[in-house]
Symmetry: C2
Subunit: 293 residues, 2 copies
Amino acid sequence: MKMNPRCTYCLLSRVHFQSKLSTDDEDLISKTIKECLEVVTRNYSPDAVSASVATKVHRKCYEVLEDNDPYAVTKKLINQAALKVLPAAKEKIYENSPDNGELFRRAVLASVVANYFDFGIMGFDASEDKFEAAFREYFENGLDVDDTPKMLGLMQDVVYIADNCGEILFDMLVFDIIKKLGGKITLVVRGEPILTDVTLEEVREFEIDKKVDRVMTTGSNAVGVLIEEAPAELLQAMKDATLIISKGMANYETLSEHNFGPIAYMLLTKCECVAEDLGLEQGLSIAKLMNCP
Amino acid sequence: MKMNPRCTYCLLSRVHFQSKLSTDDEDLISKTIKECLEVVTRNYSPDAVSASVATKVHRKCYEVLEDNDPYAVTKKLINQAALKVLPAAKEKIYENSPDNGELFRRAVLASVVANYFDFGIMGFDASEDKFEAAFREYFENGLDVDDTPKMLGLMQDVVYIADNCGEILFDMLVFDIIKKLGGKITLVVRGEPILTDVTLEEVREFEIDKKVDRVMTTGSNAVGVLIEEAPAELLQAMKDATLIISKGMANYETLSEHNFGPIAYMLLTKCECVAEDLGLEQGLSIAKLMNCP
């Protein structure tokens, strides 16, 4: 996905937000804004890939802050909040013993809804009570784009590219169904901390590796999957996959520039630009299969 | 008022907004964003005056767009919508024949509430029904900071620095009371079109000059009142005034850097940074007298 004018100020707003998470030093925050402004100005172009520019901006931000993980505490809070809602989600998915197709649809829906809960980022009030109520509301609404039936025959070798903390615990419910359907799962997480994204630390903490067949990383702290920085084994796994599942917006922003497939983009269209790029409205829950021969 | 990190992306968001008002040409919008990013980057500093940087950014924006008034149509719509609510506001102000002090307070309140209605700018839905309902709600709430009683004895020679279109029609209700109190009014509007601010065009259209003793301009299209660009007669009038009334945020951002007084800032704290600079919460209706010996 290419950069939109809107990305410029959205990025700077995020830089400001995470700088305040990292420090109370106003001078340091100003310096960070100034240096990131320079990176945005140097790289802004309607032909640039949005997430590639975001990677450059966030790297500069982390460098100036001398903080390689401004969201360290936030991520713990997100996971705690997600854990509290997980039993209710599980109940919803398995309610009235649905068939495998319906089971998969529901688990995907739960994991897409969990993509909403970027706690502390979108100004969302992360109190657990609200989280559960909002989760139920979005779950009731269902998937606005639902290509899950077409995915059922593609489960032999799934590469599952994770997005945020919190959300990953709901992804594990999808893993259960893929395994039930006889599929193999390669889970992909970020190589180093970036934003609230899942890394190997959460894989270890929640023993996620026991739910999947193998775990790989994107090879770096790039926003999304930057092919230039991806390990050869990841590129091979993506080529060999019968289905790539790409969670969240950043993975879409980077992977939509390439021709991997079949690939299912599972996300909430939280951002107007991503929604527009997908030809959809903002605020939808989608599981959209693309590049499927 | 000095620049806050937040001003950087707020300014860029406004540039994008007004570029879309001016043109559908995506390339031109991109070029505008790019050039304005450069201006923000070059001028961003915690020691810079926020509205001075805003002036530089908006001038660059208008220059690249080759449009000296992107809000031309918007301003007409704002005035039309304001005209519809004006009779209800007048009724509220004169209800139950209050004394002069209460009359002045109510007229000031109406003109402060009208500072909210930056139609098309803050994402506010400008349908007239909503405007009227919102006006009534804010009016019922009253002034959160009310120094109007202290102003009553300072009415001999008032310099009234206007802000937005729409709002100016409610300012005229304040003019009526100042005249009733025996005061002289020098109205100050922008020298050239900038944002949705009042210029001599609206003064002529609504015959506002008939309500005041004299009309001056800020001498340029600066955001707020840039002293370096202000005509000598305006500076003299401000020095001679028994009371300066400064409407809206941009006038505050520029004039708070100087020691003119007594000066009454009448505005809604729409922006977190202005609110913080005033030591107040966001979203308040204020009429705050400062630099009063």
